[in-house]
């Protein structure tokens, strides 16, 4: 009975661990040799990354004519991938910052890995606008710096420029947040290792010794960074949605976009968090830290955000019908029943229908099914961006300019390459840095054991 009344008072970490156990368990994968499973994953990811490097190299050397874009569909695969990866990042910030502010202490087991996921996802995202420039060596032109052309400044009225500032701020703040969280754990790593690992961890631990006066400031700094990251994550995806909603294309020009994009971003990111956590707990033997309860809570968040996304899809259609605007109405009819209708139905099936299984507690306990649903969410959210971008463009106002779009092998290779980059970085992170925030997990060990008030 008390369990039902005080669900937060159940232990968060299984196996009755002490603080010393946490240090040992979390540091063990860093100190031993990598497992064959790790090598298999790493080599597969590195191979994909290599493919991506070849494709991007060819594209940069030849020009973006190697992509399937045409005069009508000027944005397709690359921007889809950009929005997809930025969205993935947002769940990391949700877990590290928003759940911290909401005092959800179960987050301690997953926040470090989720923050790392954010960083790597934003790196993958930033790649796509960069290569879409065609001449990426001029990428610094997007920043306003005094130059010999006037100075000719950037256009601060363009959402694409807002994106530059939003994404760079988001990356820097996420990096700082992640690093500040790592400092105490790096000190732990320094104090239990020797040789080169000790020197490296010691360099980045900045001489941390755990003094209470430092912890006291650290706690406030962490709270402040969480408070800054929370509105930041909302602003970043709102600004990404402005790239579309400030234009006059039917299907893009709607006021629902900022909240719709933010909900979708968090939904897709939670899908990726689930995918990664289920892999990490198995391959790195972290079952006591990432427990079925963590999976259960994440599933409920996936379900809640799936309903928000479903509501947004319905609202869009209702708005299109109710507006009486023939172009708007056609854009949505074309999405669901046009030549690319199948992408729309993949989106609805993966994002709205499949997560409904998570209403059942039995399904949430079956980790295999949860893993499959998390993969479907990733697929569905990629298709959502594809649907929004390509189906809105390919049939616009003038039927004479209608066109179709299909990706070239170079574009598919670049997408696979971005997955390669993401998983290579993530596996390196799991190998060389504590994947679980030891300093935070130790603080919740007494949770629900009843020996402290």
């Amino acid at each position: 009975m008390t369990e039902a009344l005080f669900p937060l008072q159940r232990p968060l970490i299984a196996g009755d661990k002490t603080a010393a156990d946490v240090t040992r368990d979390v540091c063990r994968p860093l100190e031993g040799r990598p497992t064959p499973l790790w090598w298999a994953g790493f080599l597969a990811a590195a191979a994909l990354l290599g493919l991506g490097v070849v494709c991007v190299g060819y594209e940069v050397a030849t020009g973006i004519g190697t992509w399937g874009l045409n005069k009508t569909v000027g944005w397709a695969f690359d921007i889809t991938n950009f929005v997809f990866w930025v969205g993935i990042g947002h769940a990391g910030t949700l877990i590290s910052a928003v759940l911290f502010l909401l005092r959800q202490r179960w987050r301690t087991s997953v926040n470090r890995a989720a923050e790392a996921m954010t960083l790597f996802a934003v790196m993958c995202a930033a790649l796509f606008p960069l290569i879409h420039m065609g001449r990426p060596w001029f990428a610094y032109w997007v920043f306003p710096y005094p130059n010999t052309r006037g100075s000719l400044w950037v256009n601060f009225r363009s959402p694409l420029l807002w994106d530059v500032f939003a994404i760079s701020t988001y990356f820097l703040i996420s990096l700082v947040f992640w690093y500040v969280g790592l400092i105490p754990d790096l000190a732990t790593l320094r104090d239990r290792s020797s040789g080169r690992r000790q020197r490296l961890a010691g360099l980045f631990a900045l001489g941390w010794n755990g003094a209470l006066s430092t912890w006291n400031r650290y706690e406030l700094v962490y709270l402040l960074l969480a408070g800054l990251a929370t509105p930041l994550v909302l602003s970043v995806h709102s600004i990404v949605s402005f790239d579309f909603s400030t234009s006059v294309i039917p299907g893009w020009h709607t006021t629902i976009f900022p909240p719709y994009f933010v909900a979708g971003a968090i939904f897709s990111g939670l899908g990726m968090v689930l995918t990664l956590m289920l892999i990490a707990r198995k391959t790195m033997r972290l079952e006591d830290y990432i427990t079925p309860r963590h999976v259960d809570v994440l599933c409920k968040l996936v379900l809640a955000t799936s309903l928000m996304v479903g509501l947004a899809y319905t609202t869009e259609i209702a708005t299109a019908l109710y507006s009486g605007n023939p172009y708007e109405g056609f854009a949505f009819l074309n999405r669901a029943a046009g030549p690319m209708g199948w992408t729309y139905w993949i989106m609805v099936g993966c994002n709205v229908a499949a997560p409904q299984l998570l209403w059942s507690a039995r399904v949430r306990r079956r980790l295999g099914i949860v893993f499959a649903i998390s993969l479907l969410v990733n697929v569905g959210m990629w298709f959502e961006r594809f649907v929004i971008i390509v189906t809105s463009l390919h049939r616009d106002f003038l039927p004479s300019s209608w066109a179709s779009y299909s990706p070239t092998p170079i574009e598919i290779g670049t997408l696979l390459g971005s997955f390669g980059l993401f998983f290579t970085l993530f596996l390196l992170f799991c190998r060389f840095l504590p994947a679980i925030a030891m300093g935070e997990v130790k603080g919740v060990l007494s949770h629900g054991k009843g020996d402290h008030a």
């Binding site: 603080a19 104090d191 010691g202 631990a205 001489g207 006066s213 402040l224 030891m438």
Partner: protein, 176 residues
């Protein structure tokens, strides 16, 4: 000038809280407490005040936002005004997103920089030589001798009574 210190290590949360309260009630000066994680309530037990870094965050945030707002207006309306689709040169609503990002970036970076400076954390700083386990599972309370009445053995006994697992007496040369 050298300092005499007694380091007492604790493993349990309740033990260290009680010991710190007892040491403070007995009028001993606690030099510093080293903790493997932020234990709720320990800062209050040790009588620490809330950090003032929040003011740095607020000041840097407003400066960053104000700076970006000014910079956008200056580049768009004064330095080289460009006619973009007939929009006014000082089209302030379009400047809101970047103003916000500038505020967040300045606030975040300045807060962390101020924290590292204030806590004297920098690459290459040698960590203080502490009894083993201070970054693993042990809370280490360092009591410093203020005058000749410092009785390390009596203090060690007091700490052991409160559940200390280890006590070490040390003389340190100079301020760290």
């Amino acid at each position: 000038m050298s300092r005499r210190l007694l380091y007492a290590s604790f493993v349990g949360e309740a033990e260290v809280l009680a010991a710190v309260a007892a040491l403070r009630a007995g009028g001993h000066s606690i030099d510093e407490i080293y903790a493997p994680y932020a234990l709720h309530g320990l800062d209050r037990a040790a009588g620490l005040r809330r950090s003032r870094l929040g003011w740095v965050c607020a000041a840097a945030g407003f400066l960053g936002a104000g700076g970006m707002a000014w910079f956008q207006s200056w580049t768009s309306a004064t330095s080289w005004p460009l006619n973009v689709g007939g929009k006014p040169f000082f089209s302030w609503p379009a400047f809101v997103p970047v103003t916000f990002e500038g505020g967040v970036l300045a606030a975040g970076l300045a807060t962390v920089a101020a924290f590292l400076l204030r806590s004297r954390l920098y690459p290459g700083r040698a960590p203080s030589p502490l009894p083993a386990g201070a970054t693993d599972d042990r809370f280490v309370v360092a009591v410093v001798a203020r005058d000749a009445t410092f009785d390390a053995q009596a203090l060690a006994r007091l700490c052991l009574e409160h559940g200390a697992v280890e006590t070490v007496e040390r003389v340190e040369r100079g301020e760290p």
